[in-house]
Symmetry: C2
Subunit: 124 residues, 2 copies
DNA sequence: TGGGATACTTACATTGTTGTATGCACTTAC
DNA sequence: GTAAGTGCATACAACAATGTAAGTATCCCA
C-alpha cells in the first residue's frame, strides 16, 4: 500500500478533497468558526448559526467529529448535556476558515460594489 | 436603506454568507486555487481539476465572475479562445482558500491518523 | 475526408442535500 | 399540570446540485 506524504485536492480520489469538502460544506465552516473561541453545547450552536436545522447540525457535527476535528463530550446527565470543542487539528483548520470568512465580512462593501448583478446584493 | 460596514456570516440573509458559499462550493474553491498562479483557459482548467464536468466548470466560472472574483477574457477568435484570471479581490480570497487546502494537504497523514472510521481514509 | 480541439449551451435524468415533522425520557419553571 | 428545554434519531418529502449526452461553428492536422 502506498504511503502518502501529502494530499492533492486536485485529484478527485484524494481524501484531502473530502476533508476540504467537509470543512467547507454549507454548515461545516460555520460550525468550525462558531467553536473557534469557545466550547458550545448543541442548542447554543443551533442558536448561534442562523438558519441551521437540528437535523443538519447533528449531521454536520458527526461528520466533523468523524474527521477528528471536533470533540464531543456527553456528560451523561438528564436532561442531556453535551458539548463540543475543537481538537488541535480542528483549531488549525478553524483558524483558516475564519481567516477566509473574516476577510469576506470585512470587505463586504467593496465586494458588493464589484457585483453588477443584484444576486449577491440581496440584503434582507 | 441600511449602510453595511461589514458582513456577518452567522446571519442567514447576509450576502457574505452567499459569497462564502460560492467560494467554498464543491468546485468554486478548486477553481480559485487553480487560478492562483496563472491565467488559464477553459480546457486547461477542466484538465487541471480532476472530475469536474464542462457543465459545472462553466457554471462555477459564471458565478465567480458574477461575484467579481474572476475576469473572463474572450479573444473573439475562431476556434474560441477565452481565458480566466483572478481579480484583485479574487486573489485575496484565493490566497485564503489556498491556505486552508494547503494545510489539509500538508497534514493529510496526521489527519488520516485521527479518523477512526474508514470513511475519509478511502484512498483509491 | 475524417477526427479532434475549442468554449460553451441546453435538455433530461439522477443523485445528493436539506427541511419538516415527529418522538423520546426526563427535568425545571410557572 | 402544563409547557418548555435538552440532544438527538428517524421517516418522508421537497428541492438543489450534478452528471450525461448532444449540439454549435470553425479550424488544424493527417
Amino acid at each position: 500500500m502506498p504511503n502518502i506524504s501529502r494530499g492533492d485536492v486536485f485529484a478527485s480520489a484524494c481524501p484531502s478533497r473530502q476533508i476540504l469538502q467537509h470543512v467547507t460544506s454549507r454548515w461545516g465552516g460555520l460550525v468550525l468558526i462558531a467553536l473557534r473561541e469557545e466550547t458550545l453545547r448543541f442548542a447554543q450552536l443551533r442558536r448561534r448559526i442562523d438558519g441551521i436545522s437540528e437535523r443538519m447540525l447533528a449531521q454536520t457535527l458527526q461528520v466533523l467529529e468523524g474527521d477528528g476535528l471536533i470533540l464531543r463530550t456527553d456528560h451523561g446527565e438528564v436532561p442531556p448535556r453535551v458539548d463540543y470543542t475543537l481538537t488541535p487539528a480542528g483549531r488549525e483548520i478553524s483558524a483558516r476558515v475564519f481567516a477566509l470568512s473574516d476577510w469576506i465580512e470585512e470587505n463586504l462593501p467593496e465586494l458588493l460594489a464589484l457585483t453588477p448583478n443584484a444576486a449577491a446584493q440581496t440584503v434582507q
